[in-house]
């Protein structure tokens, strides 16, 4: 019964008459009779009240954990209230790609501001308007580096598994090769990388911090790649980037990452945000929408979609990417988030996440959960467990805590600025109890 149709039966009759057909079905004359439907095998429509009740019941079937110590690609960072408020504005929500610059300055300027912030975060020269998520950003970055001579991508096995899978899938599509760089002690094995690199390698992809939360020697990795004539792609965590060496400082040609921590809710995996930035030398190869500054007929500064000659609607089969719709509203969320945090705030979020992880690691060490890998880490780390991980995690779940993510040989714990000392102490107390 639900409907968003303004037309009344009477108006439809008037319109049919104006069109010159007697009934609405006649508009479908071109549809072969053999495939015209009698109706769909679906329940009848419902009223808004019923749909609301059904959908709320579905939401209620999920459990929202009170406390979260799990990251592994999706992070429970604090989302300032202003982010939701701004991005809920219907003007932003219900517009499409800003093709008509004259009535789209709001979106164009917000993307230009986003691009600037991503450049600042990464230290790069140019950013696009966003791609689907961090994993597809990594895959698109690999595609940017390939040419006829260099067709293989070397990807750190310590990157997020979904990122690796996505790069593999994209490369398989393009009949390009992917080789995994093995890990050693939870980090990319630099010696192995150096041994693998050859002159048909297009790029090296490294994630910093890596999937296990460990900090990599990104500069050395980049240097190795460049020595072999390959490009260096660095995948980063955008909040960690506030205090970690920037991709620029690490020598990256392309920086990519998952923008979810910048104000996007966990939302069962999406919508998230893929950000991509690169050096001046590469910007014409960036896929997706890009906003540029120009002036209007009155010589006032304004913004437009630009460099469209790269894109599919112009180049068609010669385009290097097919992306058009992206994650514009998520990019706006990120921009509002970064504007609200400012440099100090973002550094604080990073520093708090870091300090809390180190406090947790220390406390866990004391009760028999030693760290599995040595060396520096950021907000995530793997510990061994005195009992099977599943058993431990189930106990935590019963106390409304989503514990770390079970990985081979242990648990991958994560903290953000949201995890208070009280929460951490409670977690440790509970674990102690479980394992006693």
């Amino acid at each position: 019964m639900g409907s968003y149709l303004p037309s009344t039966a009477g108006q439809k009759r008037q319109m049919l008459e104006a069109v010159g057909v007697s009934q609405i079905e006649a508009l479908y004359d071109n549809v072969p009779a053999s495939i015209r439907l009698d109706g769909l095998d679906l329940a009848p429509g419902l009223s808004e009240m019923e749909v609301s009740a059904q959908m709320c019941a579905l939401a209620d079937k999920n459990h929202v954990f009170h406390t979260i110590f799990r990251g592994a690609g999706a992070y429970d960072h604090y989302i300032p209230a202003i982010v939701e408020r701004v991005c809920n504005k219907e003007e932003f929500l219900t517009a499409y790609t800003p093709y008509q610059a004259e009535i789209s300055q709001g979106i164009l300027q917000s993307i230009f501001e986003y691009q600037t912030m991503i450049c600042e975060l990464t230290g790069m020269d140019a950013s696009n308007a966003s791609v689907y998520d961090g994993a597809s950003a990594a895959a698109e970055a690999v595609a940017m580096c390939r040419d006829r001579k260099r067709n293989r991508a070397l990807v750190s096995a310590a990157a997020h598994p979904a990122v690796i899978q996505t790069i593999q899938t994209y490369c398989a599509g393009a009949d390009a090769e992917v080789a995994l760089i093995p890990t050693k002690d939870g980090r990319t094995d630099l010696d192995a990388l150096r041994a693998m690199l050859c002159d048909t390698d297009a790029c090296v992809y490294l994630q910093q911090p890596n999937f296990y939360g460990n900090l990599e020697d990104a500069e050395a990795t980049g240097a190795a790649a460049h020595e072999a004539g390959a490009k260096f792609i660095l995948g980063i965590h955008p909040i960690a980037a506030a205090i970690l060496k920037s991709p620029r400082e690490c020598g990256a040609d392309i920086a990519v990452g998952e923008g979810q921590p910048l104000g996007m809710p966990l939302a069962f995996g999406g919508p998230y945000l893929g950000f991509m930035a690169c050096t001046q030398a590469l910007f014409r190869k960036l896929p997706g929408r890009i906003v540029g500054e120009t002036v209007d007929a009155a010589d006032e500064r304004c913004f437009v979609l630009t460099l469209q000659a790269r894109e599919q609607h112009i180049r068609r089969e010669k385009a290097s990417s097919n992306i058009c719709s992206n994650q514009a509203l998520c990019a706006m969320r990120a921009a509002v988030y970064l504007a609200a945090m400012g440099s100090q705030g973002l550094q604080k979020a990073a520093q708090l996440s870091y300090a809390k992880a180190h406090y947790l690691a220390e406390e866990l060490e004391k009760i028999g959960f030693p760290r599995r890998y040595p060396g520096a880490f950021f907000q995530e780390f793997v510990t061994e467990t005195p009992l099977p991980a599943e058993q431990i995690l189930a106990k935590l779940e019963a106390h409304d805590i989503l514990g770390g993510y079970p990985v081979e040989g242990g648990i991958l714990w994560c903290t953000t600025e949201k995890n208070t000392k009280a929460q951490i102490d409670a977690l440790v107390g509970l674990l102690k109890e479980v394992c006693a």
């Binding site: 495939i35 429509g45 140019a126």
Partner: protein, 478 residues
């Protein structure tokens, strides 16, 4: 107006985060950033006013008529947003145990069930984040299918010349060679050309039906038969599904794989360019290759499973989940009959608007159309010098979003209108009258159209300058 960076004041800040309540830990120097980080320093008032001002420089569906062809700018129901904001959806970690996320998984399963019924497909993946992403995924499935049969010679994808640019681009991304198939004079696929093109090297056909001229290809069954007989598979670009949902199904037309734009047909908002959802539906033969983490129900319990010969991941996790939530709300509201009603009304609205405009200009194709139609300003331009662009820009001064310009490429000076079903007769009447006035003014005062728009926040931008001397970020040194 000023940029956030220009409004920034050193030392100004929002007070969002607490001080550290655990012993501080110092990041080893060798990892520490030295490069300065210029993010704007603003109060919440500054931010709020900035974006309020930006919001007034945007035209969304809620601001007025938005007949952007091929984009299905229908109304975005308020309920969708309310439901997608429920903490029971937004607060769920993608990797939390399945038994704690059964509601999310049921959303995916239920949306899949309904969309399979709508499209005549067997299974559906929601991993692709947008239409183009869906095309890419669909072609990967076709590729995997042929490979699995050892049929390695199928390297070509047939694409009609009226196709969206994404179709050939997606084919290239997937390692295929694109073979363009011309249209016949009536705007449909040239069957002879298709027969010639199809062969043992054909991996598949990508077709939008109704096509970008707004025509339902009357030979659709013949088209898909030709491709099938050549051993290829048929890919349905669902960009225009809004014309036929509930009326005819891609599956019944002979298609093996289809992508849907949930943000178009199923009323989820476009968000200034995304996030969307490019759900991909497949028939039986492609099920073994679906992207990983496909939801399966067993005895009322939902689990994620990977298909035997999965193509892998096209992105992390399960897709733009909250977009699927919105689409499910919409589908539950409409039900089967409601979807058919929506499609029929969309087609009626397009035909009505076309009829109202035909006295004033030329349609690219005569007669009835589906949910959209294309006008050509070729004659107008010859007679008056006024281009499709000028007409479109003039519409801006009336608070109307212009139609899609210069597409499809096979129509000169094209303007492509898609009014959608959520527009009222009153709006269509007003739009037709306004456009008629503009077209009349093209003859009496063409200069005024070249100069348009004049009532918008900015005048026409210098796009050439933007592309020639790219300024892609704010410069703090300037």
């Amino acid at each position: 107006m000023n940029l956030l960076f220009e409004k920034s004041v050193p030392g100004r800040a929002c007070t969002l985060l607490p001080d550290c309540d655990v012993p501080n830990a110092a990041l080893p120097e060798q990892f520490a950033r030295q490069q300065p980080l210029h993010l704007p320093e603003l109060s919440e008032t500054d931010i709020s006013r900035h974006y309020t001002e930006l919001s007034k420089r945007v035209h969304g569906v809620n601001d007025g008529f938005y007949p952007l062809g091929s984009c299905t700018m229908k109304y975005n129901p308020a309920l969708n947003e309310e439901i997608a904001a429920l903490p029971g959806f937004t607060g769920i970690h993608p990797l939390q145990p399945e038994y704690t996320a059964q509601g999310c998984m049921e959303v995916l399963a239920e949306a899949e069930r309904i969309l399979c019924a709508v499209t005549g497909m067997e299974a559906m993946t929601f991993q692709p984040a947008a239409g183009a992403h869906g095309e890419f995924t669909g072609l990967l499935l076709i590729k995997a299918y042929h490979r699995s049969r050892g049929d390695l010679q199928r390297t070509k994808i047939l694409v009609p010349d009226s196709a969206h640019g994404t179709n050939p681009a997606s084919a290239t991304m997937t390692g295929f060679e694109v073979v363009n198939v011309p249209s016949s004079p009536d705007g449909c696929v040239d069957l002879d050309a298709l027969r010639k093109a199809a062969g043992p090297d054909t991996a598949g056909l990508m077709l939008t039906n109704p096509n970008t001229l707004g025509l339902f290809d009357k030979n659709i069954l013949e088209i898909t038969r030709i491709v099938h007989e050549a051993g290829g598979l048929n890919y349905y670009d669902g960009a225009n599904l809004n014309a036929v949902m509930g009326v005819a199904r891609p599956g019944d037309m002979g298609f093996d794989v289809v992508h849907l734009n949930l943000h178009k047909t199923f009323s989820t908002p476009h968000g200034g360019g995304g996030p969307g959802s490019g759900a991909v539906g497949v028939k039986d033969l492609l099920v073994p290759f679906l992207p990983n983490r496909h939801v399966v129900e067993k005895d009322g319990h939902y689990t994620f499973e990977d298909a035997e010969q999965t193509i892998g991941s096209v992105k992390a996790f399960y897709g733009n989940f909250l977009v699927v939530v919105r689409a499910l709300c919409y589908m539950k509201m409409l039900g089967g009959d409601g979807m058919r009603d929506a499609a029929q009304t969309a087609v009626l609205n397009a035909n009505y608007l076309k009829k109202l405009l035909e006295p004033y200009c030329d349609a690219a194709t005569p007669g009835l159309c589906m949910h959209e139609f294309v006008l050509t300003m070729e004659h107008l331009k010859k007679e008056t010098g006024v281009s499709a662009m000028d007409v479109a820009k003039s519409m801006l001064d009336y608070g109307m979003h212009p139609p899609t310009m210069y597409f499809p490429l096979i129509v000169p000076e094209a303007l492509m209108f898609e009014p959608t079903e959520t527009e009222s007769k009153e709006t269509l009447d007003w739009a037709a009258q306004t456009i008629a006035e503009i077209l009349e003014r093209a003859h009496t005062d063409p200069e005024s159209l070249h100069a348009a728009p004049t009532r918008t926040p900015i005048r026409r931008p210098d796009e050439v300058r933007a592309a020639r001397t790219p300024k892609l970020r704010y410069s703090f040194d300037a």
